[in-house]
Amino acid sequence: MSDQQLLEIVKNALIKSPWVSHLNCGSCNGCDIEILAVLTPRYDVERFGIKLKGSPRHADVLLCTGSVTRSMAPRLKRIYNQMADPKFVVAVGSCATNWGVFHNCYNTLGGIDKVVPVAMYIPGCPPRPEAIVFGVYKLLLKLASLDLEKQEEKDSVSNLTQEPIRSEEVTT
């Protein structure tokens, strides 16, 4: 099997089984309870293979909420570094997208993208659980349409050729 075919399989598997981890970077809890609500029977994201994992090491997608506070910014960066490639960050809520209602608060930095690269933004205050599901679903659609012939898009899916790394970061 060629490298290309293998990548194709990996890509498909990733789309069918994104495990998410959740991080509150200083939000009001509104988005957090809606993220928890997507697991529950009414919305049940397990039918898409989405699982909420406690350990960022196991996760593929990091759901971040809230405008990043000055205390959480280094922790967010560190948790992002702990995750294994391929990894994606989704900003949930208006304050995670673009500062939102906290733009006057001195101890906040702004959207998640000021600290780590963001793959998908889900505006809403808070977004409905369906909107969160839709956001993750749209991220997967974006992955599915990646053209693996191109090097940079190939890199974003997998690091198959990469040797296992030793992280300087330890789990908090």
Partner: protein, 567 residues
């Protein structure tokens, strides 16, 4: 035995006494007599310190201590003790020996306004980031919020901080800021021996955004929505406290139509139902009982639907406005709500039946995290946490606000004091709230839902205490007649309960951590809305051996080997 307000006023030597806009008596005492008078008041029965309100007035710092009594119903409405210190090197004696819960409030004041508390031994940062500059106190009037933001960005606060890679001591288990138990950022540092907890330390401030400072920049209307986002779960409780306080400041509280007051009660009670169901669902999840988590959250969707149908959003309802509420209920919606609430009542009774019987789950929550009645009073526990420790106190009953006077309901309290009792209290309260909602819907008065209010409020100051789902929530506003508050102080229930929480870990195990943390229903978003500054960068403090021993002794005596807020 039960002493009244007039007698209290006679007992205390005051410099002068005045009243807030809402007729709350303020007793101003000299700073050097504060400790003495506070001790006298504690002995007279004013055992509950709600918070410490500090603000800069001209070149002085005014510090208010709202006191009340959970046991003596005559003293349930708060009374303010006030003292004034000068701005340069402000100093005042600590009251943590009398009110242990004052530790957090005092540290908050130290961080935000730079007041030094004489006699208190831990003065590290509580809420502000570690690399926050020294001698910069956000709540002083030197900078506006935007200027402060720019200054901090120039200094690079939060961009390049140093976090230790690993704990230096052995057997330290850190819970948070990212941990599956607690979705919100807070950090507990547990020193464990095998499975037993030996020590616990707490670091707050990960969710500290600086809302109180930002409120001074907004307008009375804009602030409604920032206040709402202090916490997404108890959003309407904060909003209610804010609008009631603003109405008291503007002296229009009695003009607010009845229907508006009843609808305020309705949204608060619906919020309480959803918050309590959420809470015991997550408690079941913490206990590994995922089945109950899913079932309770499935049924919670009903109340979320109700709120969405009425208010247009599932979480931040934006219902309150100064002078009334924003949306009315029509006949069609009222009927729908009654049908859904009756279904909900049946479902909550089912949850109650299962959760109070399942033995593997009960084994996890019974006799875990015990808090006695004496300790609950001493550490200033509020809300369901206090009611689980046999304190019959509910602000809705004892200091009625909005339309609670006209609505019949029962206050539930239990004597066990463990996690099980907090669960049982909340289950009962959720059921009672459904009954209250049904009563409100069936007896809703007709009339307007809001009155027109000017964009600027009158000068004045007022405070309101509201029974949020988690307990007493206090808002204080000082208005100088402009279109924004001069000072707005918020104390959320979690900050009052966190002191008692630290004592609950005694003799417990690692596995009990999530259940005990859950028992007070912590809401970190609520707790850390304030502004705090102080940083000791590069300075090392030398302590002599004698000092160290006396400190250690003091800690041992006061806290029984459990350190609070040592970071």
């Amino acid at each position: 035995m039960k002493i009244s307000m007039e007698e209290i006023k006679k007992e205390v030597k005051t410099m002068e006494s005045r009243e807030l806009s809402d007729q709350t008596p303020v007793l101003r005492v000299e700073p050097n007599r504060l400790l003495e008078e506070m001790r006298k008041l504690y002995d007279l029965g004013l055992t509950h310190l709600s918070t410490i309100i500090a603000l800069q007035v001209d070149n002085k710092i005014q510090i208010d201590y709202p006191l009340s009594s959970p046991l003596n119903k005559k003293l349930a409405p708060a009374i303010f003790v006030e003292t004034i210190v000068s701005m340069d090197k402000p100093k005042i004696s600590t009251i943590e020996d009398i009110y242990p819960s004052a530790v957090t409030y005092e540290r908050e004041v130290t961080d935000l306004l730079g007041v030094e508390f004489i006699g208190a031994d831990h003065r590290d940062k509580l809420l502000l980031p570690d690399d926050f500059p020294d001698n910069l106190y956000p709540l002083r009037k030197d900078y506006t919020g935007k200027e402060l933001q720019q200054k901090l960005d120039e200094l690079g606060v939060g961009y390049n901080p140093t976090i230790p890679l690993k704990e230096e001591e052995d057997y330290v288990m850190a819970v948070g800021p990212q941990h599956p138990t607690h979705k919100e950022p807070i950090r507990f540092k547990f020193t464990v021996e095998g499975e037993d907890i030996k020590n616990v330390e707490l670091r707050l401030g990960f969710n500290h955004r600086g809302i109180e400072k930002a409120l001074e920049q907004g307008t009375w209307i804009k602030n409604l929505y920032l206040i709402e986002r202090i916490c997404g779960i108890c959003s309407s409780a904060h909003q209610l406290a804010y609008v009631l306080t603003a109405e008291k400041v503007d002296k229009i509280l009695d003009q607010v139509p009845d229907r508006a007051q009843w609808l305020r009660v309705l949204v608060s009670e619906l919020e309480r139902i959803h918050s309590h169901i959420l809470w015991y669902g997550v408690l079941a999840h913490d206990g590994g009982y995922d089945y109950m988590f899913h079932i309770t959250w499935r049924d919670r969707e009903d109340v979320m639907d109700l709120l969405e149908m009425w208010t247009g959003n599932r979480v931040n309802y934006a219902m309150m406005t100064i002078g009334g509420v924003r949306r009315d209920i029509d006949e069609n919606l009222r009927k729908k709500m009654i049908i859904k609430l009756k279904k909900l009542r049946k479902n909550i009774s089912k949850h109650k039946e299962v959760m109070e019987k399942e033995k593997t789950f009960l084994a996890r929550i019974k006799n875990v995290g015990y808090l006695s009645k004496e300790d609950a009073i001493r550490f200033g526990a509020v809300g369901p946490t206090a009611r689980a420790s046999n304190i019959n106190f509910d602000l809705r009953k004892d200091v009625p606000y909005a339309a609670y006077k006209e609505i019949p309901f029962k206050v539930y309290y239990r004597s066990e004091g463990d996690v099980y009792a907090t669960m049982a209290v909340r289950l009962d309260e959720a059921l009672e709230s459904v009954e209250m909602c049904l009563y409100v819907l069936e007896n809703l008065p007709t009339g307007d839902i809001a009155i027109k209010v000017k964009t600027r409020l009158q000068e004045g100051e007022a405070h309101t205490r509201v029974e949020a789902p988690r307990g007493e929530d206090i808002h204080y506003i000082l208005s100088d007649g402009k279109n924004a508050p001069y000072r707005h102080k918020v104390r959320a229930p979690t900050l009052a309960n966190i002191t008692s929480l630290m004592y609950r870990f005694k003799n417990m195990q690692v596995a009990d951590i999530p259940m005990i943390i859950r028992s007070i229903d912590p809401c970190i978003g609520c707790m850390e809305r304030v502004t705090f500054v102080d940083a000791k960068t590069g300075k090392t403090k030398e302590i002599s051996g004698q000092e160290l021993i006396s400190k250690a002794n003091r800690r041992y005596r006061l806290n029984e080997k459990i350190k609070i807020f040592e970071v």
